[in-house]
């Protein structure tokens, strides 16, 4: 499986690797798949998932690219004053430019887990070259059903009336300083309306979307369909597919879980971006 090393981006300080499809499988119309860092894990991904999946996808005719954002893995740490979001968008654009220049790629699918999913969302919203995104444990916001399930689960663990009263009070009198409810896990999520607006724009653009949530983020996502409830105002058309895997952990540690995930991603990509006949 041919792999090629690229040094690119500001000062050529970013490092990434393409996995190229065999010439017989190459298809100019297929998007290139870009893997983004999951948290602090370098480009190979949690338990090397990106390397393995990149090679599988190349066998299916997709050009795949895994790289380290600045300050992660083997990429340089930037010393300019740009903010995290601005840097991420700039570096992702540089990755796409590199793939266009060296491999003729014209459109892209971005994928990531956790912070990688948040970044993939931002990149897709900002760059029209993105034709699809695969987001693992991305944004989620509480709903009444989420809270009920959470209380039920908590009640089973500890039947403490004060806890219940605190939670119920937070339902009727949410703290205006937070977009969420006390005691619930939040990353630093943007307001739900902002994410909804992005998703609406992406759907209108025809961006294909696969969202997968695991039981590992039960602190903010705990039932099948919570995403739909979160974003009822968005007309996704046929762009959206959603999976919920409550038995699985956040980083797909078990091999069987990882294989299931990789099968799902590979299948989705082939379905959404079929080979030209």
């Amino acid at each position: 499986m041919p792999e090629k090393i690229h040094r690119f981006g500001p000062g050529r300080g970013l490092i990434g690797l393409t996995t190229e499809p065999a010439a017989t499988r190459a298809d100019d119309d297929k998007p290139a798949v870009i893997f983004l860092n999951a948290g602090l894990v370098h480009r190979i991904g949690p338990y090397r998932m990106h390397t393995v999946l990149a090679r599988r996808l190349a066998e299916r005719g997709f050009l795949a690219f895994r790289f380290d954002l600045s300050g992660l893995g083997d990429s340089h740490t930037r010393t300019d004053n740009r903010g995290y979001r601005e840097r991420t968008l700039e570096e992702a654009a540089a990755a796409m430019d590199t793939l266009s220049q060296h491999h003729g790629a014209r459109r892209f699918v971005v994928t990531g887990l956790c912070s990688g999913a948040m970044n993939a969302h931002g990149i897709a919203a900002a760059d029209e070259r993105v034709a699809g995104m695969i987001l693992l444990d991305a944004y989620g916001y509480p709903t009444a059903r989420f809270l009920l399930r959470r209380y039920a689960s908590n009640a089973l663990r500890s039947l403490h009336p004060r806890k219940l009263i605190t939670h119920l009070r937070s339902l009727v009198q949410p703290d205006p300083a937070r977009s969420g409810v006390e005691g619930i896990d939040y990353l630093d999520f943007p307001p739900r309306q902002e994410i909804a607006a992005d998703l609406g724009k992406l759907a209108a653009r025809g961006t294909r979307m696969l969202f997968i949530y695991t039981g590992g983020v039960g602190g903010y996502y705990n039932y099948e369909g919570q995403f739909r409830d979160n974003f009822r105002s968005v007309d996704f058309g046929d762009c959206l597919q959603l999976d919920y895997l409550p038995a699985v952990d956040h980083t797909f540690t078990l091999l069987r879980d990882r294989h299931t995930l990789m099968d799902r991603i590979e299948g989705w990509l082939q379905e959404q971006f079929p080979e030209r006949r």
Binding site: L17, Y47, G73, A247
Partner: protein
């Protein structure tokens, strides 16, 4: 200082490496081969080893880091890593390091199993070997990883419901990586307390806190010759902690200690 990623070794079983080279190439005195841990510990350590390489290169030392076959960005898929193949890869990488640098002195810096594997090779011909938190006994290590994996399956911080359906993974996987019986058996053969000679003229043991874990090994290596030095580091690495299996390693004091070894500063 410049980082140059490249592939080396044979086509079809190519190894991915990154050569961190000093800004000045005049009179390269030292070249260091970094030997990664295996499995999840390699992922935890990646950025710290990258920072270490950059720091040493900035101090005038060539550094080569690489991924064993079937791991990281190297060819193949060998899950946790095949210990026998890793030994061969260390030899290949050492030859590569000598070829690309022409340095007068070579050193090996191994972390965890990387240290243990390197120390077991009798013909590496390195002038210095740095063993950073080495795995002292392979069989004990496999046992502890297996117990950690087992506990992970029941960890309700990780899984909403304990993964009783995956109990059989305990004999085949180690914390996210395939680790079949043959690898476990091979790992069981590595015992640093069984060394009967220092693996290099100069051997330095870096031991993170708690250091008493390494008291017997330090005493044993010290008994093998005058070239042994033990540096206790105050940093805690949490190698055996279920709560830290996915935490990136914090470099702590090791960067400065390693630089001091090669520059005397």
């Amino acid at each position: 200082m410049q980082n140059s990623p490249f592939y080396f070794g044979e086509s079809g079983s190519a190894l991915f490496g990154i050569h961190s080279r000093p800004a000045s190439t005049l009179d390269p005195s030292w070249a260091v081969l970094v030997c990664n841990p295996l499995g999840q510990e390699a992922i935890r350590a990646h950025r710290t080893l990258s920072l270490l390489a950059s720091r040493l290169a900035a101090a005038g030392v060539h550094v080569l880091r690489f991924d064993y076959l079937g791991t990281g960005d190297s060819d193949g898929d060998l899950g946790f890593g095949d210990p026998g193949r890793c030994l061969e890869d260390i030899r290949i990488a050492m030859r590569e390091l000598r070829d690309i640098t022409g340095a007068r002195h070579t050193a090996v810096l191994g972390l965890r199993l990387g240290a243990t594997l390197a120390a077991s090779i009798t013909d590496l011909d390195a002038d210095r070997m740095i063993l950073w938190d080495p795995v002292i006994d392979g069989a004990d290590y496999v046992h502890r990883l297996t117990r950690l994996h087992e506990r992970m399956l029941h960890d309700t911080e990780r899984y909403a419901v304990p993964r009783l359906d995956a109990a059989d993974s305990t004999s085949r996987e180690c914390l996210g990586f395939a680790c079949p019986g043959e690898y476990r058996k091979a790992l069981g053969g590595f015992r640093l307390l069984g060394l009967d000679a220092l693996p290099a003229p100069e051997v330095v043991l870096f031991s993170s806190s708690p250091s008493d874990h390494y008291a017997d090994l330090a005493a044993h290596l010290g008994s093998l010759g005058p070239g042994f030095l033990h540096r206790r580091l105050p940093d805690e690495m949490h190698w055996d902690s279920l709560q830290h299996i996915e935490d990136a390693l914090q470099p702590g004091t090791v960067l400065a200690e390693a630089e001091r070894l090669f520059t005397g500063r």
